[in-house]
């Protein structure tokens, strides 16, 4: 297709104008899905089980000591909070001095907060949490009214 005509601008000028127009459109458009708020897998991942008298939540939080994680229950929602630091020297060029070259950085770091709805009323004052070898186990006893009750049947 012939794109140049007598008297028209140089094709490269037209291209520049077209790119400018596209940029303007792009900037004016609403953000693409996920742009600016990259969806990430929630941390930490949890497994949840329910027994007759408790809800059990397990989470893998390697690298955290008991003092680094906070476990709380409010409005029958379990909240896990903390900060994970992936130890190691800073990359070269950040004042570490020594030569360090990173080849893989898959272990996430930073602050996290995970809210897990428990679906049943729990006795917040009796929640227990244990952290062993990076595995956090939280036992949330159900509130008495949320536990199944065996109703005795009386004969007539």
């Amino acid at each position: 297709m012939r794109t140049t005509r007598p008297g028209s601008a140089h094709p490269l000028d037209e291209l520049c104008a077209e790119v400018d127009r596209l940029w303007t459109t792009l900037i004016a458009a609403p953000p693409l899905h996920g742009w600016g708020s990259t969806p990430r897998a929630a941390f930490p991942a949890v497994n949840v089980r329910e027994t007759d008298d408790a809800v059990l939540v397990e989470a893998e939080i390697p690298g955290l000591a008991a003092a680094d994680v906070s476990v709380s229950v409010a409005d029958d929602t379990l909240v896990l909070e903390g900060e994970r630091r992936t130890d190691g020297p800073r990359p070269a060029g950040e004042g570490a001095g020594d030569e360090v070259v990173w080849h893989r950085r898959e272990r996430g770091s930073g602050r996290f907060e995970r809210r897990i709805p428990l679906a049943v009323a729990v006795a917040a004052d009796r929640v227990e949490a244990r952290l062993v070898d990076g595995v956090l186990t939280v036992r949330c006893p159900k509130a008495p009214e949320a536990q199944p009750r065996r109703v005795p049947v009386s004969g007539g």
């Binding site: 949890v46 992936t86 360090v100 893989r104 272990r107 070898d133 990076g134």
Partner: protein, 128 residues
């Protein structure tokens, strides 16, 4: 130059093993003055259940993770539990006898030192 297999960054199932529940741990891998340092998330293991081996230039990590079945019915299952395995091809020039491994808080840190012969040496220059 360090090259590694296991390009799946997620904790995907390891297709190489017949055992059904084997996972690739997330790792950080850095080279510090020639030494390779691998930091792997292997929650639920114990120091005695971890094998670290180095042969033919390949560093192999295997952490056995015992089952920890919670009672009750499953409400939410976001991860599976099983052994962790991963290998890294580091190549030659490492001191296999000097490898150290530390396990704490569910994190395994392995340091593979460079052979002294390969390490750059600063040679002092004497004046005449």
């Amino acid at each position: 130059m360090v090259t590694m297999n296991g390009s799946v960054p997620d904790r995907a199932r390891d297709a190489d093993t017949a055992a059904a529940l084997t996972y690739q741990p997330h790792v950080d891998l850095r080279v510090e003055q020639g030494d390779v340092v691998v930091v792997a998330d292997v929650p639920g293991a114990t120091p005695g259940s971890i094998d670290v081996a180095f042969a033919d230039g390949v560093l192999s990590l295997h952490a056995q993770v015992p089952a920890r079945d919670l009672p009750g019915r499953v409400v939410r299952q976001e991860y599976g539990i099983g052994d962790f395995r991963r290998q890294f091809r580091l190549g030659e020039g490492f001191d296999a006898t000097g490898i150290t491994a530390v396990y704490a808080l569910g994190v395994l840190t392995v340091r593979v030192p460079k052979l002294a012969a390969v390490r750059p040496r600063k040679v002092p220059v004497q004046g005449g």
